[in-house]
Symmetry: C2
Subunit: 210 residues, 2 copies
């Protein structure tokens, strides 16, 4: 497989992390989002011109991190990223969407730039949605136990939470009240697959490739 | 089950339509989004304060339309809203997310109001994202055959497309180039479950209840 990804793109991190957990080898193609390369290099591959875009072994293309990760989980079941129980699966997908639809599209680079060209206005805009969404996530997980969002099994929800918390820190969002969210973030970053796919690691590769 | 929904909410329509297809009886609780009732009546039920919010038979709450519809499909398999083949399932989920994450959060009432209090600025903002997203959707389905987004089987993707096209028309977005999208929209609205759950039908009920 070939993954078109951005080094700082949180949606790319989700998929990169899933691929690492599943032990799937792939070729990485880095797209420079800040420089707008998605509008040229991805125009013919993904009508939304976004990363991640995954080229499958048959040459077909799959986009949208949720579709990619659900597909990976169905075709490469170990380790499972969704629980077996239907109610628990629904819980994970609920948490995933709080981030995937409830936060991320609102703080995406393209949205920030549509709102304002002023960095401070962009920061305030992003923080607003990140704080709202992660506060909701915290309300969902605050009463839970275990290392991760749903007990001690790492799930798809964690793959969405960690990159979003990273974005929160980058934008200076105030999520100090989200204590359990922070604990889960820290626990995830103790796992080898999260560390190996961390944007800071990919950034070094990107710089090295330039 | 009890569904907290908004009569014009496109995310509510998706779930209402899925429930109709699955022949699941439920109690409807109408939330007046324009009047901000989600901030009072849903505050204790859904940390995101959004419709749809589904109260299950065991009293637990499930939010986010994707989580709700995937759960309905797993627990009430007939008629299936996702194909059997993993690649086709991924295709449906990709189309779902183009709308659920790629368009809807950007043209939501809360987002519109955060961008501007001027109705014309809100309209232009919404149209921009709707046109971008539905153009991408069109590129994905333009080469396809059959009545619906993925052949002749109605899928979850159609449940997302139809309410989004309705929103496009409401906001005056120019999607005249999205010919296949319009054909699918028309075909869907010939089905009894789409018609029975149409916001215009629910609106009459809402008025009747007032």
């Amino acid at each position: 497989m070939k993954l078109y990804e951005g080094w700082r793109s949180s949606a790319s991190w989700r998929v990169r992390w899933a691929l690492a957990l599943k032990r799937i080898a792939y070729e990485s193609v880095l797209i420079d989002i800040a420089a707008g390369e998605q509008h040229t290099r991805l125009a013919a591959l993904n009508p939304m011109r976004a990363v991640p875009t995954l080229e499958l072994d048959d040459g077909s293309l799959l986009t949208e991190s949720v579709a990619i990760i659900e597909w990976l989980d169905e075709t490469h079941p170990e380790p499972a990223l969704l629980p077996v129980d239907a109610r628990a699966r629904a819980r994970v997908r609920e948490l995933v969407q709080i981030i995937n639809a409830g936060i991320h599209p609102l703080q995406n680079t393209i949205t920030q730039r549509a709102v304002s060209s002023d960095p401070e206005a962009q920061r305030a805009w992003c923080s607003r949605w990140i704080e709202r969404g992660l506060t909701a996530y915290e309300a969902h997980v605050a009463g839970g136990a275990g290392r991760f969002s749903l007990g001690d099994q790492l799930t798809m929800a964690d793959l969405y939470l960690v990159p979003q918390v990273r974005n929160a820190d980058r934008h200076g969002a105030d999520i100090t009240a989200c204590r359990r969210v922070r604990q889960i973030y820290d626990a995830c970053l103790e796992t080898p697959e999260a560390r190996a796919t961390d944007p800071t690691v990919v950034a070094k590769r990107a710089v090295g490739a330039t």
